[in-house]
Amino acid sequence: MTRTHDHDHDAHAAIQSSSGVNEFEVLEQAVRELAIEKGLFSAEDHRRFSEWAESIGPSGGSKLVAKAWVDPEFNARLLADGTEACKEVGIDWLDPTGVGTPSDYTYFYVLENTPTVHNVIVCTLCSCYPRPVLGMSPDWYRTPHYRRRLVRWPREVLAEFGLHFGPDVEVRVHDSNQKSRFMVMPMRPDGTEGWTEEQLAAIVTRDTMIGVAQPKADWTATSSPSAG
């Protein structure tokens, strides 16, 4: 079936190239094309890798937290060696390329929130993020405002996300870098007693593992907040 357009294409402004081409973009494309032509990998390899990397979401991190909440021994393993414990939920930071794709060679640390300590992560240098467990970072995580301000005024920034802490709670900001990635393990909320790991994982949303939110028993981030 052919759909007809109800608007005039001429009304669209032509997409203009920006003021000059980025030489590194040119370099990237040239290297990629030459590598493909020489048979080092295929265009399909590249497309599949890009599609896979961009499709990773935060479900791996949610599984880690949910499992830690119900299994104290796993919790201890996760805090002691995040990279190794990830394998128990099917995430191998060394697979498939041997160096922690798609975030490259790295150490992975899980930061446990307590009633008196709240952790939050940032990357002041660029946009380092624990992609194998959380997927792609949100837009705001990469903004200069978040990166610059969180390390200087963390309580102010967290308040803008709706998180308010009194003086009895220590706020710790963890700055990711080329070699070290962090993830927050939020506290299990009230009202979740007897829940399965699957139920628990559903409420451990991306933002709770960055540290700008806390999980709630009635919020899963899988449907619109106004839907219910």
């Binding site: 190239s17 081409v21 980025n22 030489e23 590194f24 973009e25 040119v26 370099l27 990237e28 494309q29 040239a30 290297v31 990629r32 094309e33 030459l34 590598a35 020489k38 080092l40 990998f41 390899d45 590249h46 890798f49 890009s50 990397a53 961009e54 498939p96 390329t97 041997g98 160096v99 922690g100 794709t101 798609p102 490259d104 060679y105 002041t124 240098l125 660029c126 946009s127 990469r142 903004t143 200069p144 990166r147 610059r148 080329q178």
Partner: protein, 109 residues
């Protein structure tokens, strides 16, 4: 890892670009080409041409020496190209020619 930089790669850096500061990249928002470069690096490692860990070590070493004026986010592209040139996988001439061709395609009106 070669001990001299490649002219074709040095030419990629805009001479008017601001130098790195104490907090480099603070105002940098990743561009789409950086994700594509990441995938290229992963494919090169996956298929056995350039191991990711070797590349990261090269990024650290070359990024602080031969290409120290380059922004951190450009290191994967610059160092991957440098390593492929060093290993004779590509030549400087064909890289220059391909960059000219790509640039012409991207700027064609």
């Amino acid at each position: 890892m070669g001990s001299t930089p490649y002219r074709i790669l040095l030419d990629a850096l805009d001479p008017g670009a601001p130098a790195e500061t104490d907090l480099p990249e603070l105002d940098h928002t990743p561009d789409p080409w950086e994700s594509s470069m990441q995938a290229t690096c992963e494919c090169l490692s996956w298929r056995g041409t350039l191991d990711n860990l070797d590349r990261r070590h090269a990024e650290d070493a070359l990024g602080e020496t031969l290409y120290h004026d380059f922004p951190v986010h450009t290191r994967p592209a610059v160092v991957t190209a440098h390593e492929l040139l060093d290993r004779g996988v590509i030549t400087e001439e064909e890289l220059r020619a391909r960059m000219d061709a790509v640039r012409a395609r991207l700027t064609r009106q």
